[in-house]
């Protein structure tokens, strides 16, 4: 009954071809058809008949590969199918296993015996199937258990089997380093093979091994050298070149030795792949060999002018390898590089861009920027933004090292902002503020650039512009004394289209308006009182216009305009915007009538003017750049609990706190830092109001303020040059993102002056500590340590006793090699005993540790 069942099933079973046809027919209901098929497969695969089972498995592996159907559930069935005596079934089984097994597959070890059986098979194609499977899924245990089979196959007389056995060694070594003791010698012997397939396979394996751990394979350099000179097979030569590219970096004498044969290949070969590999090897590892380098660069030129876009791309790529060490090679080809910028291939354009960026220095930066900006304007958004990003990065490197003329650079930033595709507003805005805080001399230009951005209503609609506008608004407020037309800027800051801005940036706009108002009022009062010295000489001396000699009329129209603009915002939903608008309105309300009185009566203005002086003082503290490591300098105050989980708190007063949380998340770091100064502002206003009502002198408010400051020092801006920061809310990244919040101790500034023939470079405030400290150190320890140790042990034995033990692999099979090699090493041990500690093992004995030291290339280099 059972057998007739299986017969019926196998007669009516859909084959893989039926399945594929079915999928093609059900174009619309493809997924339902596939899930139906999977159900079918599930029942078929459980049947005892192996051919039914194998066809079901084949269909499943097809669906898994091309339609993303999970097949991990069928792992056991794959193991069943692979045990079939029929070749076709076996092949399906091995295919499924290689495709779906991982190291974690629970039934993985069930195939050990089947693999062993097939590796010992007399049929080379069965052996090949098993090898292929092992090369894909060989886990630690499999590799260990099958090492001896692989070793036997390495000596197979059939090239078809032997090349695959060689290929599988890579996986076995990786998973089971002790296999080196057994297999390495045979592997090395295959380097002498005359069969090109064998040679290609074994060189490929050594190429992979060398990539992971070059030092261990130095003793094999003579063998590789022989292949480099003798072989005419491009595949083999490419792999040998890859090996030498690694070896030459750790053994400079080798570079000298291989330069000649490589040049020979470069002159001789017609194969572009080999030629390119020669070029790449020379550029990356032999760039100190002058003649080889010259030849390679000459060959690159051929690539660059070739019509084949692949060669052009690779030529540029090669130049970018050599650029850091030999810039002349790039400069020689700069015409081709610039031409490549207009290529239709994005890859080519990007490579050209990187090369241009490598060439940039303080002399040519404006020229290169001009060229690149032209390309950015007319190219697609992707490349345009690449150009802008690279320019921003190159110019800002090392505190704007290559920029001499900052007026030019700021106008460049302004130009970038106006490129329609520009999406790098964040970085541009950041740099504008950064430059403003670091370089005093450039603030005039910064204000000018900011003004032109602010007064353009079209820019407000572009969300990528918002960070730039935010920076421009901040700069206009902070450096208002450089502005010739405060009224105009205040008008721009309050224009109706600012409703398009996100609330956080709007808040900055309002705050800047506030600063402008205070500045203007101060100017007005100063003009009335000739006794006090003029605070802002720049503006009064340069601006001969009437705007700066604030008259009552201009002041009141300014106040009216601000009041009008902000009145509507005092009812806005966003609390940040609302609060700031109300603050300004409150301030205006406080002084409005007194200013009016001032025109008539000449007395009774002390309260108002002192309030304004006070506000001016609040804003006059200069904001400096902040080091990215500044936050770490702040000592943690006693009793401040940062790590405590506050989720409970939110639960308790969730409803109440909610809007505050929201507004906090909306306001960016910028306003968060400004808010602190605002708390001072509010406080002072209240103080002033009290002061004016009781007509007591301002000192009281000052002492109150001082008292407050004493108690809550942490929350204050550090006008007294202390390393204090606001980490009260645990919002650590506010300081890292935006620089201008606080000023850190004066001695951490490192002003650097650079002179140029034409124009002196302004002082750029630099911070001592760069981000270098934050970089993680490269991990010195190699994760292939057991493997490299094993290789070195084995190769030492081989290098010394090569002549004597030609054929006795039995000796190597047992662990005798260890004593043998270590005995010989004692001679070399003293020589390079202190050379390298990298591979030293702490766990192993001295004897073995000495084997892990770098080995010499005997009689090859000298």
């Amino acid at each position: 009954m059972a057998s007739s069942n299986s017969l019926m099933d196998s007669l009516f079973q859909r084959s893989l071809e039926d399945l594929i046809k079915g999928i093609r027919l059900h174009l619309l209901g493809e997924s339902s058809f596939i899930s139906k098929s999977v159900d079918e497969i599930r029942s078929e695969i459980k049947l005892t008949d192996l051919s039914t089972k194998s066809i079901a498995l084949q269909k499943l592996s097809y669906l898994a590969a091309l339609h993303g159907v999970d097949m991990s559930w069928a792992a056991f069935h794959a193991v069943e199918v692979v045990s079939s005596s029929r070749f076709g079934d076996k092949r399906i089984g091995y295919h499924a296993i290689a495709q779906s097994f991982s190291d974690q597959t629970p039934v993985l070890l069930l195939i050990t015996n089947q693999l062993r059986k097939d590796l010992n098979s007399s049929n080379e194609y069965e052996v090949s199937l098993a090898l292929e499977c092992l090369s894909r899924i060989g886990a630690d245990d499999l590799a260990r258990d099958l090492t001896s089979e692989v070793f036997t196959l390495l000596g197979s007389s059939k090239a078809f089997v032997r090349k695959k056995a060689i290929g599988v060694v890579l996986r076995v070594f990786d998973k089971y380093p002790d296999a080196v003791k057994v297999c390495l010698k045979r592997l090395v012997e295959n380097l002498d093979s005359s069969d090109p397939h064998i040679l290609s396979a074994v060189v490929g394996v050594f190429c992979e091994l060398t990539t992971k751990d070059p030092r261990s394979y130095l003793p094999l350099a003579p063998e590789f050298y022989k292949i480099l000179v003798d072989s005419r097979n491009n595949w083999v030569l490419i792999k040998v070149l890859k090996i030498f590219a690694k070896l030459a970096l750790i053994e400079p004498r080798l570079a000298k030795k291989v330069a000649d044969p490589i040049c020979e290949h470069m002159r001789r070969t017609v194969g572009k792949s080999l030629l390119f590999e020669c070029i790449r090897t020379v550029l990356s590892s032999l760039s100190d060999q002058e003649s080889a380098l010259k030849l390679a660069v000459a060959k690159i030129r051929d690539f660059l002018v070739d019509d084949d876009p692949n060669l052009k791309y690779l030529g540029l790529h090669a130049l970018s390898i050599v650029a850091p060490k030999h810039l002349w090679a790039v400069l020689e080809n700069n015409e081709a590089v610039v031409k490549a910028l207009s290529d239709e291939d994005l890859n080519v354009k990007l490579e050209a861009l990187h090369l241009l960026m490598a060439m940039v220095n303080e002399e040519n930066v404006s020229e290169i920027s001009r060229i690149l900006m032209n390309y950015a304007r007319k190219s697609d958004p992707l490349f345009c933004n690449e150009v802008i990003t690279s320019l921003l990065l190159a110019c800002s490197r090392n505190s704007y090292e290559i920029v001499v003329d900052f007026d030019w650079y700021l106008s460049l930033l302004g130009e970038m902002a106006r490129i329609p595709h520009c999406q790098r507003g964040q970085e541009i805005g950041h740099q504008m503020i950064d430059i403003g805080t670091r370089i005093k001399d450039v603030r005039l230009e910064l204000v000018r650039v900011s003004r032109s951005l602010l007064i353009d209503p079209a820019l407000l609609g572009n969300q990528f512009m918002h960070p730039i506008l935010s920076a421009a608004a901040w700069a206009s407020g902070e450096y208002v004394e450089f502005s010739k037309t405060p009224y105009e800027i205040a008008e721009a800051l309050l224009q109706p289209r600012t409703s398009l801005l996100p609330p956080s940036i709007r808040a900055i706009y309002i705050h800047s308006t506030f600063k402008i108002l205070v500045f203007s009022l101060r100017g007005y009062f100063t003009a009335q009182e000739p006794i006090s010295p003029p605070l802002v000489q720049e503006s009064t001396s340069s601006g001969s216009s009437a705007v700066n000699c604030f008259t009552y009329k201009s002041i009141s129209s300014l106040m009216n305009m601000i009041e009008l603009g902000l009145r509507s915002l005092s009812g806005t939903l966003d609390v940040e915007v609302q609060e700031r608008a109300k603050n300004v309105l409150g301030f205006i309300g406080m002084i409005e009538h007194e200013i009016a009185e001032k025109v008539t009566g000449q007395d009774n203005e002390t309260a108002v003017s002192s309030a304004i002086v006070f506000m001016e003082d609040v804003f006059s503290d200069e904001l400096g750049p902040v080091s990215s490591t500044a936050q770490e300098k702040v000592p943690l105050p006693d009793g401040l609990e940062i790590k405590e989980n506050l989720e409970d708190l939110q639960e308790i007063c969730g409803e109440f706190l909610k809007p505050i949380f929201e507004s906090n998340s909306n306001t960016n770091s910028f306003s968060a830092s400004d808010k602190i100064s605002f708390s001072v502002t509010k406080l002072s206003i209240r103080d002033q109001q009290e002061a004016s009502s009781s007509s007591s002198p301002p000192p009281e408010s000052a002492s109150l303020l001082a008292e407050h400051r004493k108690r809550h020092d942490l929350y204050y801006l550090s006008s007294q040059k202390k390393d204090e920061h606001n980490d009260s809310n645990g919002n650590n990244n506010t300081l890292n993102e935006y620089p201008p919040a606080n000023e850190i101790s004066g001695d951490s500034f490192n002003p650097k002056k650079k002179m140029n023939q034409s124009k002196p470079r302004p002082v750029v405030v630099k911070l001592d500590e760069g981000d270098d400290d934050l970089k993680t150190k490269p991990n010195a320890s190699s994760n292939d340590e057991p493997l490299s140790r094993a290789i070195q042990t084995a190769l030492m034995g081989k290098g010394m006793g090569k002549e004597r033990e030609k054929d006795n692999h039995e000796k190597i099979l047992d662990s005798g090699i260890k004593e043998q090699s270590s005995g010989k090493e004692k001679k070399t041990k003293k020589k390079n005993g202190e050379k390298s500690s990298k591979h030293r093992s702490r766990r192993r004995s001295d004897k073995e540790a000495s084997a892990a030291k770098p080995v010499e290339i005997v009689d090859f280099l000298l």
Binding site: S3, S4, S6, L7, S10, L16, I20, R24, S51, Q58, Y62, A64, A65, L66, G68, V69, D70, R86, F87, G88, R91, I92, H95, S102, D103, Y125, S128, E132, S135, R136, F160, K163, K164, G167, L170, R171, H197, S200, A201, G204, C207, E208, T211, W235, I238, K239, K242, S273, F276, E277, P309, N310, K312, Y313, L314, E344, D345, L346, N347, V348
Partner: protein, 166 residues
């Protein structure tokens, strides 16, 4: 090392996909889609190389070639040569051409097993082991013969035993 071999048509339907490191099927599908979206955005007559670290991790490159309705894609790391990989695609296509005499997309669709037989002879566990299409053909024909032989042997006894069992 070669990390993956893919063939897909110009609509983005995968026709062959082989990953030489273990990867869950969802991840495989995601990578296939990712590769296709990059390829389909590239114009004709541009270079055949792509840097796709975003999909396959650092130091991974991709070479592709567009034949008629198909993209042939190889993904590999720094120990392979870009132009050699381009040649390898050529070898693969030539071999398929010999195998199916004028290969077209349908041949690849319906010959799942044979496609893998060809590919496995050329690329073994991520390493290039064979670059001569004649050698590959020899092995593939042997494998087909073995499969046919094992099937014909088994068909007779099975049907007979089934028949006798009644």
């Amino acid at each position: 090392m070669i990390k993956a071999v893919m063939m897909m048509n110009t609509q983005g339907k995968p026709r062959l996909a082989k990953f030489y490191d273990y990867m869950p099927v969802e991840k495989q599908q995601e990578l296939i889609r990712g590769v296709f979206s990059v390829l389909s955005s590239r114009p004709e007559n541009v270079s055949n190389f792509l840097e796709i670290d975003s999909l396959f991790g650092v130091d991974s490159r991709l070479v592709y070639k567009h034949y008629a309705t198909l993209y042939f894609v190889l993904v590999f790391d720094g120990s392979e040569n870009e132009l050699a990989m381009l040649d390898l695609i050529q070898v693969l296509v030539e071999t398929l051409d010999k195998c199916f005499s004028n290969v077209c997309e349908l041949d690849i669709v319906f010959n799942y097993s044979k496609m893998h037989a060809v590919l496995d002879e050329i690329v073994f566990g991520g390493q290039v082991l064979e670059t001569s299409s004649a050698e590959v053909m020899k092995a593939v024909e042997e494998i087909s013969k073995l499969e046919a032989a094992s099937n014909s042997i088994s068909l007779v006894p099975k049907s007979v035993s089934g028949w006798r069992g009644r």
